[in-house]
């Protein structure tokens, strides 16, 4: 992690000194992590794409004010986490006022997916269906623990929540997963 942090700080310094290529390198390093976090939080490609682009725009604009107090990785995850939760809220509000049939909407969104392999796509769809039924904050912890392998301390730095609170949230997320996988059977 130390080496990663050093190379991140070096890239940021290069970017702050006007080297635009350094920004491209930062993006290349983190774009997949950003995308997949958003994708699992939101359950579809279009929303994940929107959030990913927004995060990169924020990164481009705010990197100048990066204070080197936390790692770039934590800072980026903070942005992704906030943006993803905001997108969920926005969609809920839109859905509340919309007359569209949500079933049809999912079909349209799926056709724009970037996963070419059908088997993988089906597996991901099954996972998404379950994840989307878990409340967003519990879902976030579940994703960070199970897919991104973050420690509670890292998640605490990203979300700003206490480790105890995160553990409780993860407990409820696991309980919900058990209920949902039981329903499936």
């Amino acid at each position: 992690m130390g080496k990663v942090q050093d190379s991140d700080f070096e890239l940021i310094n290069r970017y702050l000194n006007g080297d635009e290529v350094a920004f491209n390198l930062i993006v290349k390093k983190y774009q997949k992590k950003i995308y997949w976090h958003a994708r699992q939080m939101l359950g579809n490609h279009l929303d994940a794409d929107e959030v990913t682009q927004e995060v990169l725009i924020v990164l481009y604009k705010k990197l100048k004010s990066f204070n080197f107090q936390s790692s770039l990785f934590t800072w980026i995850y903070k942005i992704v986490s906030t943006r993803s939760l905001n997108q969920i809220r926005r969609k809920k509000i839109k859905g509340f006022f919309s007359l569209d049939d949500p079933e049809n909407k999912i079909e349209v969104e799926d056709s724009a997916d970037i996963i070419e392999d059908i088997v993988n796509r089906e597996k991901l769809e099954q996972v998404d269906k379950i994840l989307q039924k878990i409340p967003p904050k519990q879902r976030e912890i579940f994703i960070m623990r199970n897919y991104e392998q973050h420690t509670y301390e890292e998640i605490s730095k990203i979300t700003g929540k206490s480790v105890g609170g995160l553990k409780a949230n993860y407990f409820h997320a696991l309980k919900k997963v058990l209920e949902l996988t039981n329903e499936k059977k």
Binding site: K32, K167, V177, L178
Partner: protein
């Protein structure tokens, strides 16, 4: 089968303290039932795990930076346009208000008077005749005169200058005479009007 679920989930989420964890691990090693239940729960949670993220179309990630940069450019243009949209009318409003409030040369009263004089000087006889005499002819004169009494109390100033023959026509009109327009003028006023008209107009004024 759900007997130990809470305990297992407490263990998996690290909610249990170190003492409870040790006891749980000891029980897990000794109890077949607990072991079975633990494995079942663990496998169900793992069933929605992904060994790794699926392979994606790399063109998407390759095109991400250009799209982000394009968006950034569009936003810059949008914001500069927005600034122009809001600044131009605001600047115009500020200039107009400043001119009105702080221009010492602005004298609305005198400008208004000038305008009024210009209108009076240039009003045609036809307009006077059509507007006033037609009204006088079409309505009972007493009513009109009562209603506009003040308007018909002619106060001819000494310096009055007649620039057209409106007054002459007014005084010469039989209807006006009939309804006492001339009677409302004092002898002195009538004299002044008569003299002025004689010197400026060839029209005959009847006393």
């Amino acid at each position: 089968m759900k007997k130990n679920e809470e305990r297992i989930l407490n263990y998996l989420s690290c909610l249990s303290d170190s003492g409870e964890r040790i006891r749980f691990e000891e029980d897990l090693a000794s109890s077949e039932e607990l072991k079975k239940e633990f494995e079942m729960i663990h496998s169900r949670i793992k069933s929605i795990d992904l060994a790794e993220y699926p392979e994606t179309d790399e063109r998407y990630f390759a095109g991400l930076i250009p799209r982000v940069r394009e968006k950034l450019e569009n936003r810059k243009t949008y914001f500069s346009r927005k600034i122009v949209y809001y600044t131009a009318p605001a600047a115009a409003a500020i200039i107009i208000i400043s001119l009105v409030l702080f221009n010492p040369g602005t004298d609305f009263e005198s400008q208004y008077k000038e305008l009024a004089e210009a209108v009076v000087d240039n009003i045609s006889d036809t307009v006077v005749s059509e507007k006033y005499f037609t009204e006088l002819e079409s309505r009972p004169a007493e009513a009109v005169l009562t209603e506009r009494e003040d308007n018909y109390k002619f106060q001819f100033p000494a310096e009055l200058e007649v620039t057209n023959d409106t007054y002459a026509r007014l005084l010469d009109n039989p209807i006006a005479e009939e309804y006492g327009t001339l009677n409302r003028l004092s002898d002195n006023e009538l004299e002044i009007v008569y003299d002025k008209l004689n010197s400026n107009s060839s029209q005959k004024v009847t006393k």
